[in-house]
């Protein structure tokens, strides 16, 4: 027999996953409240800001299609500018969701249940933003179908030896699998929303998308197997996706890019940036929707610990890059790294190191990990730092490669800025719609980790009522 959550909790001497001894019904009510209640004013304010930014994205993309990629700050050595920086930034953020939902699931880290839906949604929307950038960067978007292996008028096939094509497959498949994973997790919760819906439209829409789910145990059996398999498939997938993204750089011969450390370094950075973004969003959402008893301090602290771990791994990678550049004896490699630190982009480099390596070290202290406001500020720094990391990689290597005669300085134009800012609009618009219309916490999963969910809990026919007495008092309640 598998250990009950209660037993695991007792062994770990940790606080319960859901505070306040909630009953099943109270959990349903708490999670459904943000959807069923009136739309908060704050939501409208942020939503209108997000839609405005989305409008900027639409306008700037429209102008890009009309005029071409010349409106961006790209120049001859720097053929990859902010578009690629933004692409790697967003796809990196997209990695935390699957890490939380798949890898932590396989490791039986039950604390993930409060945040996995949330993080998966974030993944999905981040991948949507990520896919946008290479799409618009190709210039002639109407010829985008060349990247797919479908017969075209040139009678040619895509070039399967190119990492850029691997990227097309990796990122689109990652988006698809993340969507499937997210949707499968949503089905039982959509059924909950269907059964609670008051309006005919709500009943119809939630009813349609919950596929007629009726909680049958014969269904749950296949469902749980499907979920486990999806987690098992998504785990190598998430590691492969950012490895393949790093191949875009690592398989080229540009100094600073052509290194074997790139795949693990990129994966660590992706998880780092993703956790930064999850923390940012979570801290806002748990405050705005009063979900502190479900997204507890323990969740924040665990997230902070993973952020610290991956941030330190990123810092280690920065150090090893330098060491290998020196140790290789390759003068171009050495020059690139010296110039990162002290060259024309040194301001970006030091921003990156401060945000990604120095500031997260504060998370060693428990006082800081459990201080929501400080944690929020640190998470913002992580987001900024990881954007700068990709900028440093793209800009420093491209603008100062082998021949001094081909050096240049790359700076963005207003349209680069518009595309980045606009992509945040797309992200937040989708995310706010998610918060308003879908259960942001996996209702069924949360119920499954409550102590009284265990059929052997208490061994009395009225275990639910008596569970408060049966649960050991939390050894170290933090909130």
């Amino acid at each position: 027999m598998v250990q009950s959550v209660e037993q695991i909790e007792r062994v770990d001497r940790r606080v319960p996953l859901v505070l306040g001894g909630k009953s099943f019904h109270e959990v349903t009510e708490a999670i459904a409240a943000p959807i069923e209640g009136r739309t908060p004013k704050l939501w409208w304010i942020i939503f209108s800001a997000a839609v405005t930014l989305l409008g900027i994205l639409v306008a700037s993309t429209g102008y890009l299609f009309y005029e071409g990629t010349g409106i961006w700050g790209l120049n001859n050595p720097a053929g990859w500018g902010w578009a690629i920086v933004n692409f790697v930034f967003w796809v990196g953020i997209g990695h935390a969701g699957t890490l939380i939902s798949a890898i932590l699931f396989l490791f039986r880290q039950k604390w993930r249940t409060s945040i996995n839906r949330f993080a998966e949604a974030m993944t999905l929307f981040a991948v949507a933003c990520a896919l946008l950038f290479p799409t618009i960067h190709v210039g002639r978007v109407w010829l985008l179908y060349y990247v797919f292996p479908i017969p075209n008028q040139m009678q040619m096939w895509p070039q399967f030896r190119s990492p850029l094509l691997w990227d097309v497959f990796a990122v689109t498949i990652y988006g698809t699998v993340s969507l499937l994973f997210w949707y499968v997790g949503l089905i039982p919760d959509l059924a909950t929303m269907r059964d609670r819906a008051k309006s005919a439209l709500g009943r119809m829409l939630y009813g349609f998308f919950s596929l007629g789910w009726r909680g049958s145990n014969r269904h749950w059996q296949h469902y749980e197997v499907a979920y486990l398999i999806l987690a098992g498939l998504a785990t190598p997938l998430v590691l492969s996706v950012h490895s393949i993204v790093s191949f875009d750089f690592a398989t080229s011969v540009i100094p600073g890019w052509h290194t074997t450390i790139f795949p693990p370094y990129f994966v660590a950075g992706a998880i780092f940036s993703g956790f930064g973004m999850v923390l940012t969003l979570m801290i806002i959402a748990r405050w705005a929707f009063k979900l502190e008893h479900i997204m507890t301090m323990r969740h924040l602290e665990n997230m902070a610990k993973i952020t610290l771990l991956t941030g330190t791994m990123v810092g280690y990678a920065y150090g090893i890059e330098f060491f290998i550049a020196w140790y290789s004896g390759n003068q171009f490699e050495q020059f690139t790294f010296i110039s990162r630190m002290f060259g024309p982009y040194s301001w970006a480099y030091w921003t990156m190191v401060s945000c990604n390596v120095f500031i997260p070290q504060l998370l060693w202290f428990r006082k800081i990990r459990t201080n929501v406001k400080v944690l929020f500020v640190i998470s913002i720094f992580v987001n900024i730092g990881m954007w700068f990391e990709r900028f440093v990689i793209v800009a420093t290597s491209l603008t100062r490669d082998f021949l001094p005669s081909s050096w240049a300085y790359y700076s963005p134009t207003i349209w680069d800025v518009a595309a980045l800012v606009g992509s945040f609009g797309l992200f937040f618009t989708l995310f706010l719609l998610f918060l308003r219309f879908l259960p942001m916490i996996a209702v069924a999963e949360i119920k499954g980790v409550l102590p009284q969910a265990n059929p052997h809990h208490g061994h009395t026919p009225h275990a639910e009522e008596s569970h408060a007495g049966a649960t050991p008092a939390p050894a170290e309640a933090k909130e």
């Binding site: 497959f169 007629g212 145990n217 014969r218 398999i229 997938l237 265990n454």
Partner: protein
């Protein structure tokens, strides 16, 4: 048609109650019955005497199809249909084909898992007789149910209702088809 019986629906209050009740329904020898819970209750598969899911085999076949198909596609397009030298690499530069092979294996495996699960569960099924019950709406909140179908050879209106009450149900109702 209007009054044809679908079966009996029994309500339970706790995971413990439904767990014990399922064992009794299983031992009573019913075939066409099911339990409905807000979340998967641990050990209920065993208590209901269910067999293992066949889904892993479906996923295995699908994932292999995706991977082999993907590798075949790349090999055929690069070696047979339009051989073209890129970066001085051989036509059959198979290591370069591995990333896409892997990704397509994962894609097909995931599609197999989701659609295989839906297929085995016969979902989507937007209408079901159980949805006639107002009380059944709480299966997705905090109540636990056992349904026994009328077509089960052991089903007997009066006896089955009595049986369900005896094994701890707090409310038993009969559902029309």
């Amino acid at each position: 048609m209007a009054n044809k019986l679908y079966g009996a629906l029994a309500e339970f209050e706790t995971p413990h109650a439904i767990f014990e009740a399922c064992k009794k329904v299983r031992d009573a020898g019913f075939k066409y019955w099911d339990s409905h819970t807000p979340f998967p209750v641990h050990g209920l598969d065993g208590a209901m005497g269910m067999k293992r899911s066949k889904l892993p085999f479906i996923v295995l076949v699908m994932a292999l199809t995706g991977a082999i198909g993907g590798f075949g596609l790349q090999t055929w397009t690069s070696v047979v249909d339009y051989p073209w030298v890129v970066s001085g690499k051989p036509y059959f530069s198979w290591p370069a084909f591995i990333p896409v092979t892997f990704e397509l294996g994962v894609l097909f495996g995931a599609l197999g898992a989701v659609f295989g699960m839906l297929g085995l569960n016969k979902l989507p099924q937007l209408y079901h007789s159980l949805f006639r019950s107002k009380r059944f709406e709480r299966f997705s909140d905090d109540k636990f149910f056992i349904s026994i179908e009328e077509r089960d050879p052991k089903f007997d209106k009066a006896k089955t209702v009595a049986f369900l009450e005896e094994i701890g149900s707090t409310n038993v109702e009969l559902i029309d088809e």
